[in-house]
């Protein structure tokens, strides 16, 4: 098939992607140059990529307000970032992200985003994270509205098949639009803000082997890393760990793709988690949940069959968001184990051993709102907080699988969000923002709400840089 070359004049900036980073980049670029095109792969009804499933953004603020009561200093966010996984992968770019985060909420508000108080049941997020009214799809809708009002052009159902490059410049994009076939779009500058490759199971299998078959993907199936692969083929330098991803524990019954927030399980700190042999394998009460929820996808990915089971009792059943498919329920622990397909004796023994290791004062000192120090004694692995006996029937359990939110491995960028090459140079007019370059900031761990921060900070940088590059090229 021959590519139809668009007869149109070249666009100043073409943004690949349709989520938060892409929209922020496109809006920022449109404030500087007139002809901006956004290429969204999904149809209009499903636009917004992973952003549809987000709900808050983690930013530095020097003073509290109605939505984020209390101060969250640059130093504290930096410390929080250093404490997850192996810490920031590029200290320079991570520090830039943290510094720039302070101006993100006012920028969002100025571009149509409304706020709401922290959602009920989201413990420990209220001071550090701002929740936007209606969640991620409402945010996406607001940004599209702002973008269209500003006069930028949006094309849905657009898949970027390839990137054409001459020397160190991108000259155009090969785009397919369903029955309309392939066409070549020429651009003075390009922003790649089209997410990771988490929906590409073949790609994941390269690093995870057959375990990848048991991964569920929390966002849309369109995040297959096609543009990332094209960039690598053109010599773009990789950034981030191959196995780096943000993954959480989700209901094993969730759909393969796009189950989003409703399938996530927050029962872990109030429960014990056993593997398919009925044995515990990790400290469920290590840290406050927003700082630790993101290790559980990885934890479960490391267990046999990539499956694990959260088991709790009636005393704590109301303390976390109710799971969408509902837990199994039984009058005794053995009944829960049987319903989950586990060996009843093994699970009963594990629960009994755990209960013996729980401090006698635990039920009276138990406090889900903070690290309460109710720890097990002499148990391996320990449960460091919120360890109270599992002894109040009925008992509950749920099977969990790793739910991947996004992969970190992407392209290396400069401070201007310019995509670097393996030869040490950089593309003059190709930029990246959001998950596709998150590996510059994140290594293996994740901090709740920081994906939106990365997308917004780097969307602004990439949009402004692309507009400047378009000016030079014109």
């Amino acid at each position: 098939m021959s590519d139809r070359v668009s007869a149109e004049a070249p666009w100043d900036v073409v943004v690949i992607g349709g989520g938060n980073a892409a929209l922020v980049a496109a809006i920022t670029a449109r404030e500087r140059v007139p002809r901006v095109l956004l290429l969204e792969r999904a149809p209009a009804a499903l636009r917004g990529g992973n952003t549809r499933h987000t709900r808050n953004v983690r930013c530095v603020h020097d003073a509290g307000d109605v939505y984020t009561p209390g101060v969250y200093s640059r130093a504290e966010l930096w410390d929080d970032l250093c404490a997850v996984g192996d810490g920031p992968s590029s200290e320079e770019l991570a520090a830039l992200t943290v510094r720039e985060s302070a101006s993100v909420p006012p920028w969002m508000a100025a571009h149509g985003i409304r706020w709401q108080p922290p959602l009920t049941g989201t413990l420990h997020l209220g001071r550090t994270n701002r929740f936007f009214l209606g969640g991620g799809k409402a945010l996406v809708n607001s940004y599209y509205r702002t973008a269209l009002r500003a006069g930028l052009t949006v094309s849905y159902d657009c898949t970027v098949e390839d990137i054409s490059v001459g020397g160190d410049r991108c000259t155009g994009l090969v785009v397919s639009r369903g029955p309309a076939g392939r066409s070549l779009i020429s651009a003075r500058a390009v922003v790649c803000a089209c997410g990771g490759f988490e929906a590409n199971l073949d790609w994941l299998r390269r690093y995870w082997g057959d375990a990848a078959d048991n991964f569920l993907v929390r966002g849309p199936a369109t995040n297959d890393g096609r543009v990332l692969a094209a960039l690598y083929a053109l010599g773009a330098a990789p950034a981030g760990q191959e196995r780096g991803f943000h993954a959480v524990a989700i209901d094993a019954r969730s759909p393969r793709f796009d189950g989003g927030i409703a399938t996530r399980l927050d029962s872990i700190p109030f429960s014990i988690v056993v593997n398919s042999a009925g044995r515990r394998f990790y400290d469920e009460g290590e840290e406050l949940w927003p700082k630790r929820y993101a290790i559980w996808g990885r934890n479960i990915a490391g267990q046999p069959g990539q499956i694990a089971y959260s088991i709790w009792d009636s005393a704590v059943n109301h303390l976390f968001l109710p799971p969408m498919y509902g837990p199994v329920r039984a009058g005794d622990v053995a009944g829960v184990a049987r319903a989950l397909g586990l060996a009843p004796d093994a699970v009963t023994a594990t629960v009994a051993g755990y209960n013996r290791a729980v401090a006698s004062f635990a039920p009276s000192r138990f406090d889900p709102s903070r690290l309460d120090g109710c720890a097990t004694a002499g148990l391996v692995p320990p449960k460091s907080n919120w360890a109270r006996p599992i002894d109040t029937p009925p008992f509950y359990g749920i099977a969990m699988r790793p739910g991947i939110t996004f992969t970190f491995m992407g392209v290396q960028v400069t401070r201007e969000a310019r995509v670097m090459r393996t030869d040490g140079g950089a593309f003059r007019n190709v930029f990246a923002a959001g998950e596709i370059m998150s590996g510059n900031v994140l290594s293996s761990g994740y901090l709740g709400g920081f994906g939106l921060t990365i997308g917004t900070v780097w969307g602004r940088i990439a949009g402004a840089s692309a507009a400047a590059a378009a000016g030079e090229a014109a």
């Binding site: 959602l119 209606g134 969640g135 759909p255 969408m324």
Partner: protein
């Protein structure tokens, strides 16, 4: 899809959707429905009914929902809850004194034995009752007019030239009383089924009144309504306010006229710059603008749903929405015309038309979507009582 389901099936579907909502909670900031949902340990049919009437149909939760169709979870809360509301409007009316076959005569007898019998029978009963009540009311008016026609001694432009005061009182009062009795019965049944609380709490009542007066649940937490299109707009809240306050002003006009006549001893017609006329003109104009505007929005909303897109509401209830707005518009227009034409020969016929409209509307009100006023207010009272408790608990 929720269209046409009997309540059992509908309840299963609504529970499925609300369980997803409760696991997500992103819409918590839009209205009272989602915080109320989060306070429930599990959802009963009564709870679903309460939540449905608490919903003011702003549709923000639909446009914000990443699980809305074409997503496989197919969450469409405005449509699901409006289908529950339709069942509420049908099923909570007190059983009529006539046998079911009489109601079936109104047009849906065949449906009674078919699938979905409960819902269809309820709707048939409602239609039968509406027809019977409307006919009876107009007969009462005709009889009253015949037995006690107007007197030539009343002033020009006075209604009493057409119909004597006691006859008017009976013709309007009887159907009004009937409506109040039927709606009270419905309210009692609804209150029991939803486990209502707070009617004796001044705080809950005040809070409900405040929310109703300002249509707080159509504010979308500052985002206004996604109505008539998916774009935020305050049009619906403003127009609905015009209708509600316009109707209140018309009631005020009637009360003012009664005071002028029976206390001040001042017989109609009243001058332009009197309380009855001013309130009537302002209220009537508000209702005309409001109802007309809402009818236009309704058409726009129906047209805004792209082919293949699911409707955001129960279509049968939408038809009742058109009917209510048209009825209220007719009331307001004929009312304004009687005033404008009171010095002409057309006054008599126009007044008869207006009175017939008033009498019929009073009689059939409990069988129309007018009852949403009752159920929504009760839902707001219940919610105010519950949320006051909830806030208290979370502070503790």
């Amino acid at each position: 899809m929720t269209e046409g389901l009997p309540f059992d099936g509908l309840f299963v579907e609504v529970s499925r959707q609300l369980t997803i909502c409760n696991a997500c909670r992103y819409c918590e900031g839009y209205c009272a429905v989602f915080p109320a949902l989060e306070r429930l340990a599990e959802i009963t049919p009564g709870d679903a009914t309460h939540l449905a009437d608490l919903c003011h149909d702003c549709r923000d939760c639909y446009t914000a929902c990443m699980y809305a169709p074409p997503h496989e979870f197919a969450v469409n809360v405005p449509a699901a809850l409006s289908a529950v509301r339709r069942h509420t409007y049908d099923e909570y009316l007190p059983r009529p004194p006539w046998p079911p076959w009489a109601a079936g005569a109104a047009g849906a007898a065949g449906a009674a034995g078919a699938a979905g019998a409960a819902g269809a029978a309820g709707a048939a009963r409602r239609r039968g009752a509406m027809l019977a009540a409307g006919l009876a009311a107009v007969c009462v008016l005709a009889l009253a007019g015949f037995l006690a026609g107007g007197t030539g001694t009343a002033a020009a432009g006075s209604p009493y030239r057409v119909i004597a005061y006691p006859a008017l009182l009976v013709a309007v009062g009887l159907p009004a009383l009937w409506s109040i009795v039927v709606m009270t019965g419905a309210a009692v049944r609804y209150w029991r089924a939803t486990g209502g609380r707070g009617l004796t709490s001044p705080r809950a009542l005040l809070s409900a009144l405040r929310q109703a007066a300002g249509l707080r649940n159509l504010r979308g937490g500052g985002a206004d309504c996604a109505y008539p299109t998916d774009e935020p707009s305050a049009a619906r809240r403003r127009l609905h306010g015009l209708v509600a306050w316009g109707l209140a002003a018309c009631v005020g006009s009637t009360v003012a006229a009664a005071i002028s006549q029976d206390i001040a001893g001042d017989a109609p017609p009243y001058p332009l710059l009197s309380a009855p006329v001013l309130l009537g003109v302002i209220g009537g104009a508000g209702m005309v603008l409001g109802c007309g505007g809402l009818l236009v929005l309704r058409r726009a909303a129906a047209g805004a749903v792209a082919p293949g897109d699911p409707p955001r509401e129960d279509l049968a209830l939408a038809r009742r929405g058109y009917a209510l707005l048209t009825g209220l518009l007719l009331l307001a227009v004929t009312g304004l015309l009687t005033l404008m034409l009171r010095d002409t020969t057309a006054f008599g016929p126009v007044l008869v038309i207006h009175l017939a409209a008033v009498v019929a509307c009073f009689a059939i009100a409990p069988y129309t979507k007018f009852t949403h006023v009752v159920y929504r207010f009760l839902a707001l009272v219940h919610d105010s009582a519950e949320s006051a408790d909830g806030n208290h608990r979370s502070r503790a």
